[in-house]
């Protein structure tokens, strides 16, 4: 975000400075070096949001509590008023048992361990992001950090099982425009080795076998970066997972410095243009970017060179790669050359069936 000082002053080398009343919330720096001024126009000052205007929930309208002023020689401008909004909290919905299709649930869901005979459950939590005013935000990167991870300590429920790993939700991993999925699951190939044993969703006792503290972060897909927008505990039982005890976040202000908040910086237009020598140059940029999963039909239609209709007959997944066999039934988009190029890039193709591999 930039501001530029413009005047009808004919001084060929004016002295121009910019200042703010909240230097801990907003930084001002010359664009490309010291303010280089010429008659009528002084070079841009780059405005960067550092922290939100407020750290508590707000009711509209916004209190533009940050001001920027310019001094052109001895002439002081009016205030440019600024508000730094922020992703403020996550609203979560426990969707209960996860099924990838009717009757295909829990560990047997297509996204987990289908056909591998594992016993246990998958609980789906949908997570929404809202701003300081309680308005829902659309597709911003998110991640989590997990700490205080503790197993029951007996009956096979020990740290030897390994702790759950933190997840990340770039916008390509969102469900839709406004939420991303978080899965709590226990899937064991040897359930009888545990006491109490894991069972499918909602069919066991209410015995907690694992607890942890979970922090959600908004604004970045790198674990621990961004703005901490929710802290809650997680409890994994033998037959389901829950979260609760969401806390008020006091670490939000310092955490905010880890991401660019400039996208949430807003000028009060009613207060910026009343005098003649300040103007806003850069528009706000959109949060929305094309996505693969969580995409819409327009993005797929325009962003993919080849769109195929077919059946995934088999697949294999590792930490770094996914490969799968597709029986192609119809080509919805893509020239023959484009299809061939895709197959050569991703794997091998036959006329009816294709093998593709993609690095994740």
């Amino acid at each position: 975000m930039t501001l530029q000082a413009v005047t009808n002053d004919t001084d060929p080398s004016p002295t121009v400075t910019f200042s703010t009343n909240k230097p801990l919330l907003l930084s001002l720096s010359p664009s490309g070096g010291p303010y280089a001024c010429a008659p009528y126009v002084c070079a841009n000052v780059v405005i960067t949001a550092i922290a939100p205007s407020f750290v508590t929930a707000q009711s509209p309208p916004a209190d533009y509590n940050i001001t920027v002023t310019a001094t052109w020689d001895d002439l002081v401008s009016n205030d440019v008023q600024v508000f730094n909004n922020i992703p403020y909290y996550n609203y979560v919905v426990n969707e209960g048992q996860y099924c990838s299709s009717p009757g295909v649930c829990n560990c047997n869901s297509s996204n987990f361990y289908p056909g591998q005979g594992r016993t246990g459950y998958v609980t789906l939590i949908d997570v929404y992001a809202r701003d300081l005013f309680g308005n829902t935000l659309v597709q911003i990167p998110a991640n989590e950090t997990l700490k205080d991870q503790l197993y029951l300590g007996s009956g096979g429920w020990t740290s030897a099982l390994g702790n759950p790993k933190p997840g990340a939700w770039p916008i390509t991993a969102w469900n839709s425009d406004i939420s991303f999925p978080d899965y709590y699951f226990v899937c064991s190939p040897n359930p009888s080795s545990f006491t109490p044993p894991p069972t499918s969703y909602g069919t066991g006792g209410v015995i907690a076998v694992f607890t942890e503290t979970q922090n959600y972060w908004s604004g970045s897909a790198a674990n621990g970066s961004g703005v901490c927008t929710r802290v809650n505990y997680v409890q994994l039982y033998t037959d389901h997972g829950v979260q609760g005890g969401a806390e008020i976040l006091l670490e939000r202000v310092s955490a905010a410095q880890a991401i660019s908040l400039t996208q949430y910086l807003h000028f009060n237009p009613e207060k910026t243009m009343t005098k003649y020598y300040l103007r806003i140059l850069a528009p706000l940029f959109s949060l929305c970017l094309p996505a693969a999963h969580g995409a819409n039909v327009a993005q797929i239609a325009s962003g993919c060179d080849v769109v195929l209709l077919g059946t995934v007959t088999s697949w294999n997944q590792t930490a770094a790669n996914v490969s799968f066999n597709v029986f192609v039934q119809r080509v919805l988009k893509g020239t023959r050359a484009a299809q061939r190029l895709a197959c050569l890039t991703l794997g091998t193709c036959t006329r009816a069936a294709s093998t593709m591999a993609r690095r994740r």
Binding site: P61, N111, H266, E270, I300, L309
Partner: protein, 244 residues
């Protein structure tokens, strides 16, 4: 938490054979939507997968999918169809109350609740009346309806918004103040399109009810003070006869 990677994130469900209602010539985005909707229906996966992907399809195609979902017996598909239909056909809001008993315990109900809370902004008096009635369905629907009504803040919504000023719930009082003051100061309706830009707070302040006092009492951040709430109670008492 989750596995390191999901094969399922690389493709959408689809049906090899489309139901007759989808067998029409259409641009590629619409065709993709039809295959996706048919695939979701055939596999029974979350219908929100299809509804969340409709952007870019023609309105007529979205309506076809929404109506198809609403005709199915599965309440989750009905609510998803209704959520997709609301932006295109606001009169569909009248179907929410009748559907609610069958979906009120479904985890998927938030697809519809949030479609109302965050996106339904029809200012028609009939829609306002429907929203007011929805506010008594459940606490979560009440919060959604209040958010929508205060965001729309037309003249017809004011009697309900005025009742919020005496609510025991501070957040309801705040939405009441926001709605009344947004009306008086001629602010645009808040919608998904102007949340990030905060353009919904850029008010013309040139309406018949705009005064220096309404402007002053619009600029109070956070939970409104008792003084601010009192101002809007008095404002309503003075103006309701002319506004009703």
């Amino acid at each position: 938490m989750g596995p390191d990677g999901f094969i399922g994130s690389l493709y959408w469900p689809a049906a090899a054979t489309l139901p007759a209602v989808y067998q029409i010539q259409a641009p590629l985005p619409d065709t993709l939507l039809f295959y996706l909707a048919a695939g979701v229906e055939a596999s029974g996966v979350n219908p929100g997968t299809a509804i969340g992907a409709v952007h870019g399809a023609q309105t007529s195609s979205i309506q076809i999918v929404a109506n198809r979902f609403m005709s199915l017996s599965n309440p989750d598909f009905q609510l998803a169809g209704l959520a997709a239909l609301l932006p295109l056909q606001p009169s569909a809001i009248s179907s929410v109350a009748a559907l609610w008993p069958s979906i009120s315990s479904s985890p998927r109900r938030f697809l519809l609740v949030f479609a109302i809370r965050d996106a339904f902004r029809d200012p028609a008096p009939s829609s306002i009346q429907q929203l007011v009635q929805l506010a008594s369905l459940s606490p979560e629907m009440r919060e959604a309806a209040i958010h929508a009504l205060s965001s729309i803040h037309t003249k017809e919504s004011l009697p309900f918004l005025a009742t919020l000023l005496t609510s025991a719930d501070g957040s309801e009082r705040a939405r009441g103040v926001f709605g009344l003051s947004s009306f008086a100061n001629v602010c645009p309706a808040e919608s998904p399109a102007n949340v990030q830009s905060m353009a919904y707070l850029k008010c013309s302040k040139q309406g018949p009810y705009s005064t220096p006092e309404t402007i002053t009492n619009f600029a109070s951040p956070g939970t409104p003070s008792d003084q601010g709430v009192s101002f809007w109670i008095n404002w309503w008492n003075q103006n309701q006869a002319a506004l009703q």
